[in-house]
């Protein structure tokens, strides 16, 4: 593994006439949990979209484990070991939870059309292996009892966890999580915190999460990057960032910052 699991170098993205990302730099070490925060419209999701290949950057480069991925197709980037979840549930509606997980193994399974069509023994073995892996993955996140259920029968929080499992099942190097904790109650937040740590510790995956639940970010992240109006305005350990004046200003505005530092 190279020094950084994910490296964003000087990335600029334009939509119409607006610079949504302006010279963004980001270096994430392997096994790190990195938080990405900032006020609404700061460009956080756009950054994830550029990294995962949905948009190509105007300038700059992105490196996944040392290999350049900027401007590549999303499916290519995924195959190189990048996973991600989205703000809305994207479980496949036409599949059970188990089938969703097995679909997550797409890049790790190899049966082509002819082998599958003729159901060669290799294919059957691969399918059984995939099902085993899928069940194991569901157990890891504590959702094994829902294997044969349909995604829409479950709560949003449960769906989200299953999507994370689906992303993890193919052993990606880096996983991008877009507001995974939205709507979680305090109890669930604690569970989620634990889950993220387990993922990092037991799977060795590098995690980057966009979050608005600041408490979670401060607790679980090793480092935090703050984005505002397309630029990185702070980058460091949670405590440093929390007291950073520019960050406070970005969130609260100049007046409140004055009041804050006065107190």
């Amino acid at each position: 593994m190279t020094e950084f699991a994910l490296s964003v170098r000087d990335v600029t993205v334009r939509f119409g006439g607006v610079k949504v990302l302006d010279g963004v730099n980001l270096d994430v070490k392997p096994g790190e949990i990195r938080g990405l925060i900032g006020p609404n419209g700061a460009g956080k999701t756009t950054l994830l979209n550029v990294v995962s290949g949905i948009h190509a950057p105007l300038q700059g480069d992105i490196m996944l484990d040392g290999e350049s991925i900027a401007g590549h197709k999303p499916s290519d980037i995924a195959r190189r070991g990048l996973g991600r979840t989205f703000q809305t549930s994207k479980l496949f509606r036409g599949m059970t939870v188990l089938e969703n997980l097995m679909a997550g193994l797409h890049r790790r399974t190899h049966s082509g059309i002819f082998r599958s069509g003729f159901r060669l023994t290799r294919v059957t073995a691969e399918e059984e292996e995939a099902e085993r892996a899928a069940r194991k993955s569901l157990e890891f996140v504590g959702m094994a009892q829902f294997a044969d259920r349909h995604g829409t029968e479950l709560s949003f929080g449960q769906q989200r966890v299953i999507e994370i499992a689906r992303t993890l099942i193919s052993d990606p190097k880096v996983v991008l999580l877009d507001e995974p904790a939205v709507g979680l109650s305090i109890n669930r937040l604690a569970e989620f915190d634990l889950l993220l740590r387990r993922i990092r510790d037991e799977k060795g995956v590098t995690l980057i999460l966009i979050e608005h639940v600041i408490r979670l970010v401060m607790d679980v992240c090793d480092k935090v990057t703050v984005l505002s109006s397309g630029r990185v305005i702070a980058d460091g350990e949670p405590d440093q960032v929390r007291h950073n004046e520019q960050v406070i200003e970005a969130y609260l505005g100049k007046e409140l910052r004055a009041r804050h530092s006065a107190s």
């Binding site: 999701t45 979209n49 995962s52 290949g53 949905i54 197709k73 999303p74 499916s75 290519d76 995924a78 195959r79 996973g83 991600r84 989205f86 703000q87 809305t88 994207k90 479980l91 496949f92 509606r93 036409g94 599949m95 059970t96 089938e99 097995m102 679909a103 997550g104 193994l105 797409h106 890049r107 399974t109 049966s111 082509g112 059309i113 599958s116 069509g117 003729f118 159901r119 294919v123 691969e126 399918e127 995939a130 349909h150 995604g151 829409t152 689906r166 992303t167 193919s170």
Partner: protein, 336 residues
């Protein structure tokens, strides 16, 4: 697995199909053969529309290309049927892919429009490229001889159709229950999530188009022998609507559904043979009814009533329009 599981029901149908020639008259044999041809069409179309979610209208054209391809190879180049038949299917698949590859970047309505345009273009070629296709009047295709087997042409053709259909059905069922099938459904349900799992959209859409083109081509080759006559008439939009009806009635996203739907539709088609206007009204109404109220088709009803009926990739058990697998409108998937 219960008594009425999917496999058992299909097995029973197969047994019935095997003994049909022993008691059927010429007309009934014809209808039976027609059903088999429509099953082929329905399976291919279901893979493309039901599983991969591609709203394409080119299947009738590829059916026609298969028929014309097979028969013309026999007539112009004197190829024997057993060569012309797979060749015709390959031609249909190749043409379908060629035309659809640029269209694969499009989704939803635009794909519908471009495949409709292609279908019209194919019709036009059938009609006007007289030197090749013999134009509006059509032409006769040389009947297959099944010598040295003691089979008359109708019976021999029936069994050939049966073998083809069974093979394609099994193949399709296997494909659908594999990672390829999951990739198709992933593409249908969320292109963005599918990509994030490493599914190459273009490749799998092309694969789905290729499968449907090939099976439609096979169906066309058999059809060219059914009456030993090929003309532009049978490959128009109405034909497309009939095909769509078979998969909607049977069940979008179900191979078994394709079989059942095709059989049902062909039987009704023949019953209404006299009045074309009535046929059109009927199929239109069927389409509307099933799409609105019984989206999962016959298969969804069977899934609910028969406990042993298992369907891969049918996470939902609902029958109404809202709970069945749906296609997203272009890329209006939420991506803030």
């Amino acid at each position: 697995m219960g008594l009425f599981s999917r496999r058992n029901v299909l097995a029973i149908l197969l047994l019935l199909a095997l003994i049909v020639p022993s008691f059927a008259n010429a007309y009934q044999l014809f209808v039976g053969n027609l059903i088999l041809i429509y099953v082929l069409l329905a399976i291919g179309l279901n893979v493309l529309v039901g599983y991969a979610g591609q709203l394409a209208f080119a299947n009738a054209a590829m059916f026609g290309i298969g028929a014309y391809g097979t028969a013309l190879l026999q007539v112009h180049l004197s190829w024997p049927f057993y060569l012309a038949f797979p060749a015709g299917a390959l031609i249909a698949m190749a043409v379908g892919l060629m035309i659809s590859l640029p269209a694969l970047r499009l989704s939803g309505l635009y794909l519908a429009l471009s495949t409709l345009a292609f279908a019209q273009f194919a019709q036009w070629v059938f009609l006007h490229w007289d030197t090749l296709t013999f134009g509006a009047g059509g032409f006769k295709s040389p009947p297959i001889s099944f010598a040295p087997l003691p089979l008359s042409k109708p019976v021999g053709l029936y069994y050939l159709s049966l073998i083809t259909t069974v093979c394609v059905t099994l193949f399709a069922q296997n494909v659908v229950a594999s990672r390829i099938g999951r990739a198709f459904v992933a593409v249908r349900d969320s292109e963005i999530a599918a990509q994030s799992l490493g599914v190459d959209l273009l490749r799998y859409k092309a694969l789905a188009f290729g499968i449907s083109g090939f099976t439609a081509g096979l169906a066309g080759g058999l059809y060219s022998q059914l009456l030993n006559f090929v003309s532009p008439e049978g490959f128009d939009l109405f034909q497309m609507v009939i095909q769509k009806s078979t998969i909607v009635v049977g069940g979008l996203g179900s191979i078994a559904g394709s079989v059942l739907g095709a059989a049902a539709i062909v039987i009704i088609l023949e019953l209404l043979r006299e009045v074309k206007g009535a046929q059109e009204v009927f199929f239109g109404a069927v389409l509307i009814f099933f799409v609105t109220f019984l989206r999962g088709g016959i298969v969804s009803v069977l899934q609910q009533r028969l406990r042993g009926w298992d369907e891969p990739l049918h996470g939902t058990r609902g029958t109404d329009a809202k709970s069945a697998p749906q296609l997203r409108l272009d890329e209006k998937e939420s991506l803030p």
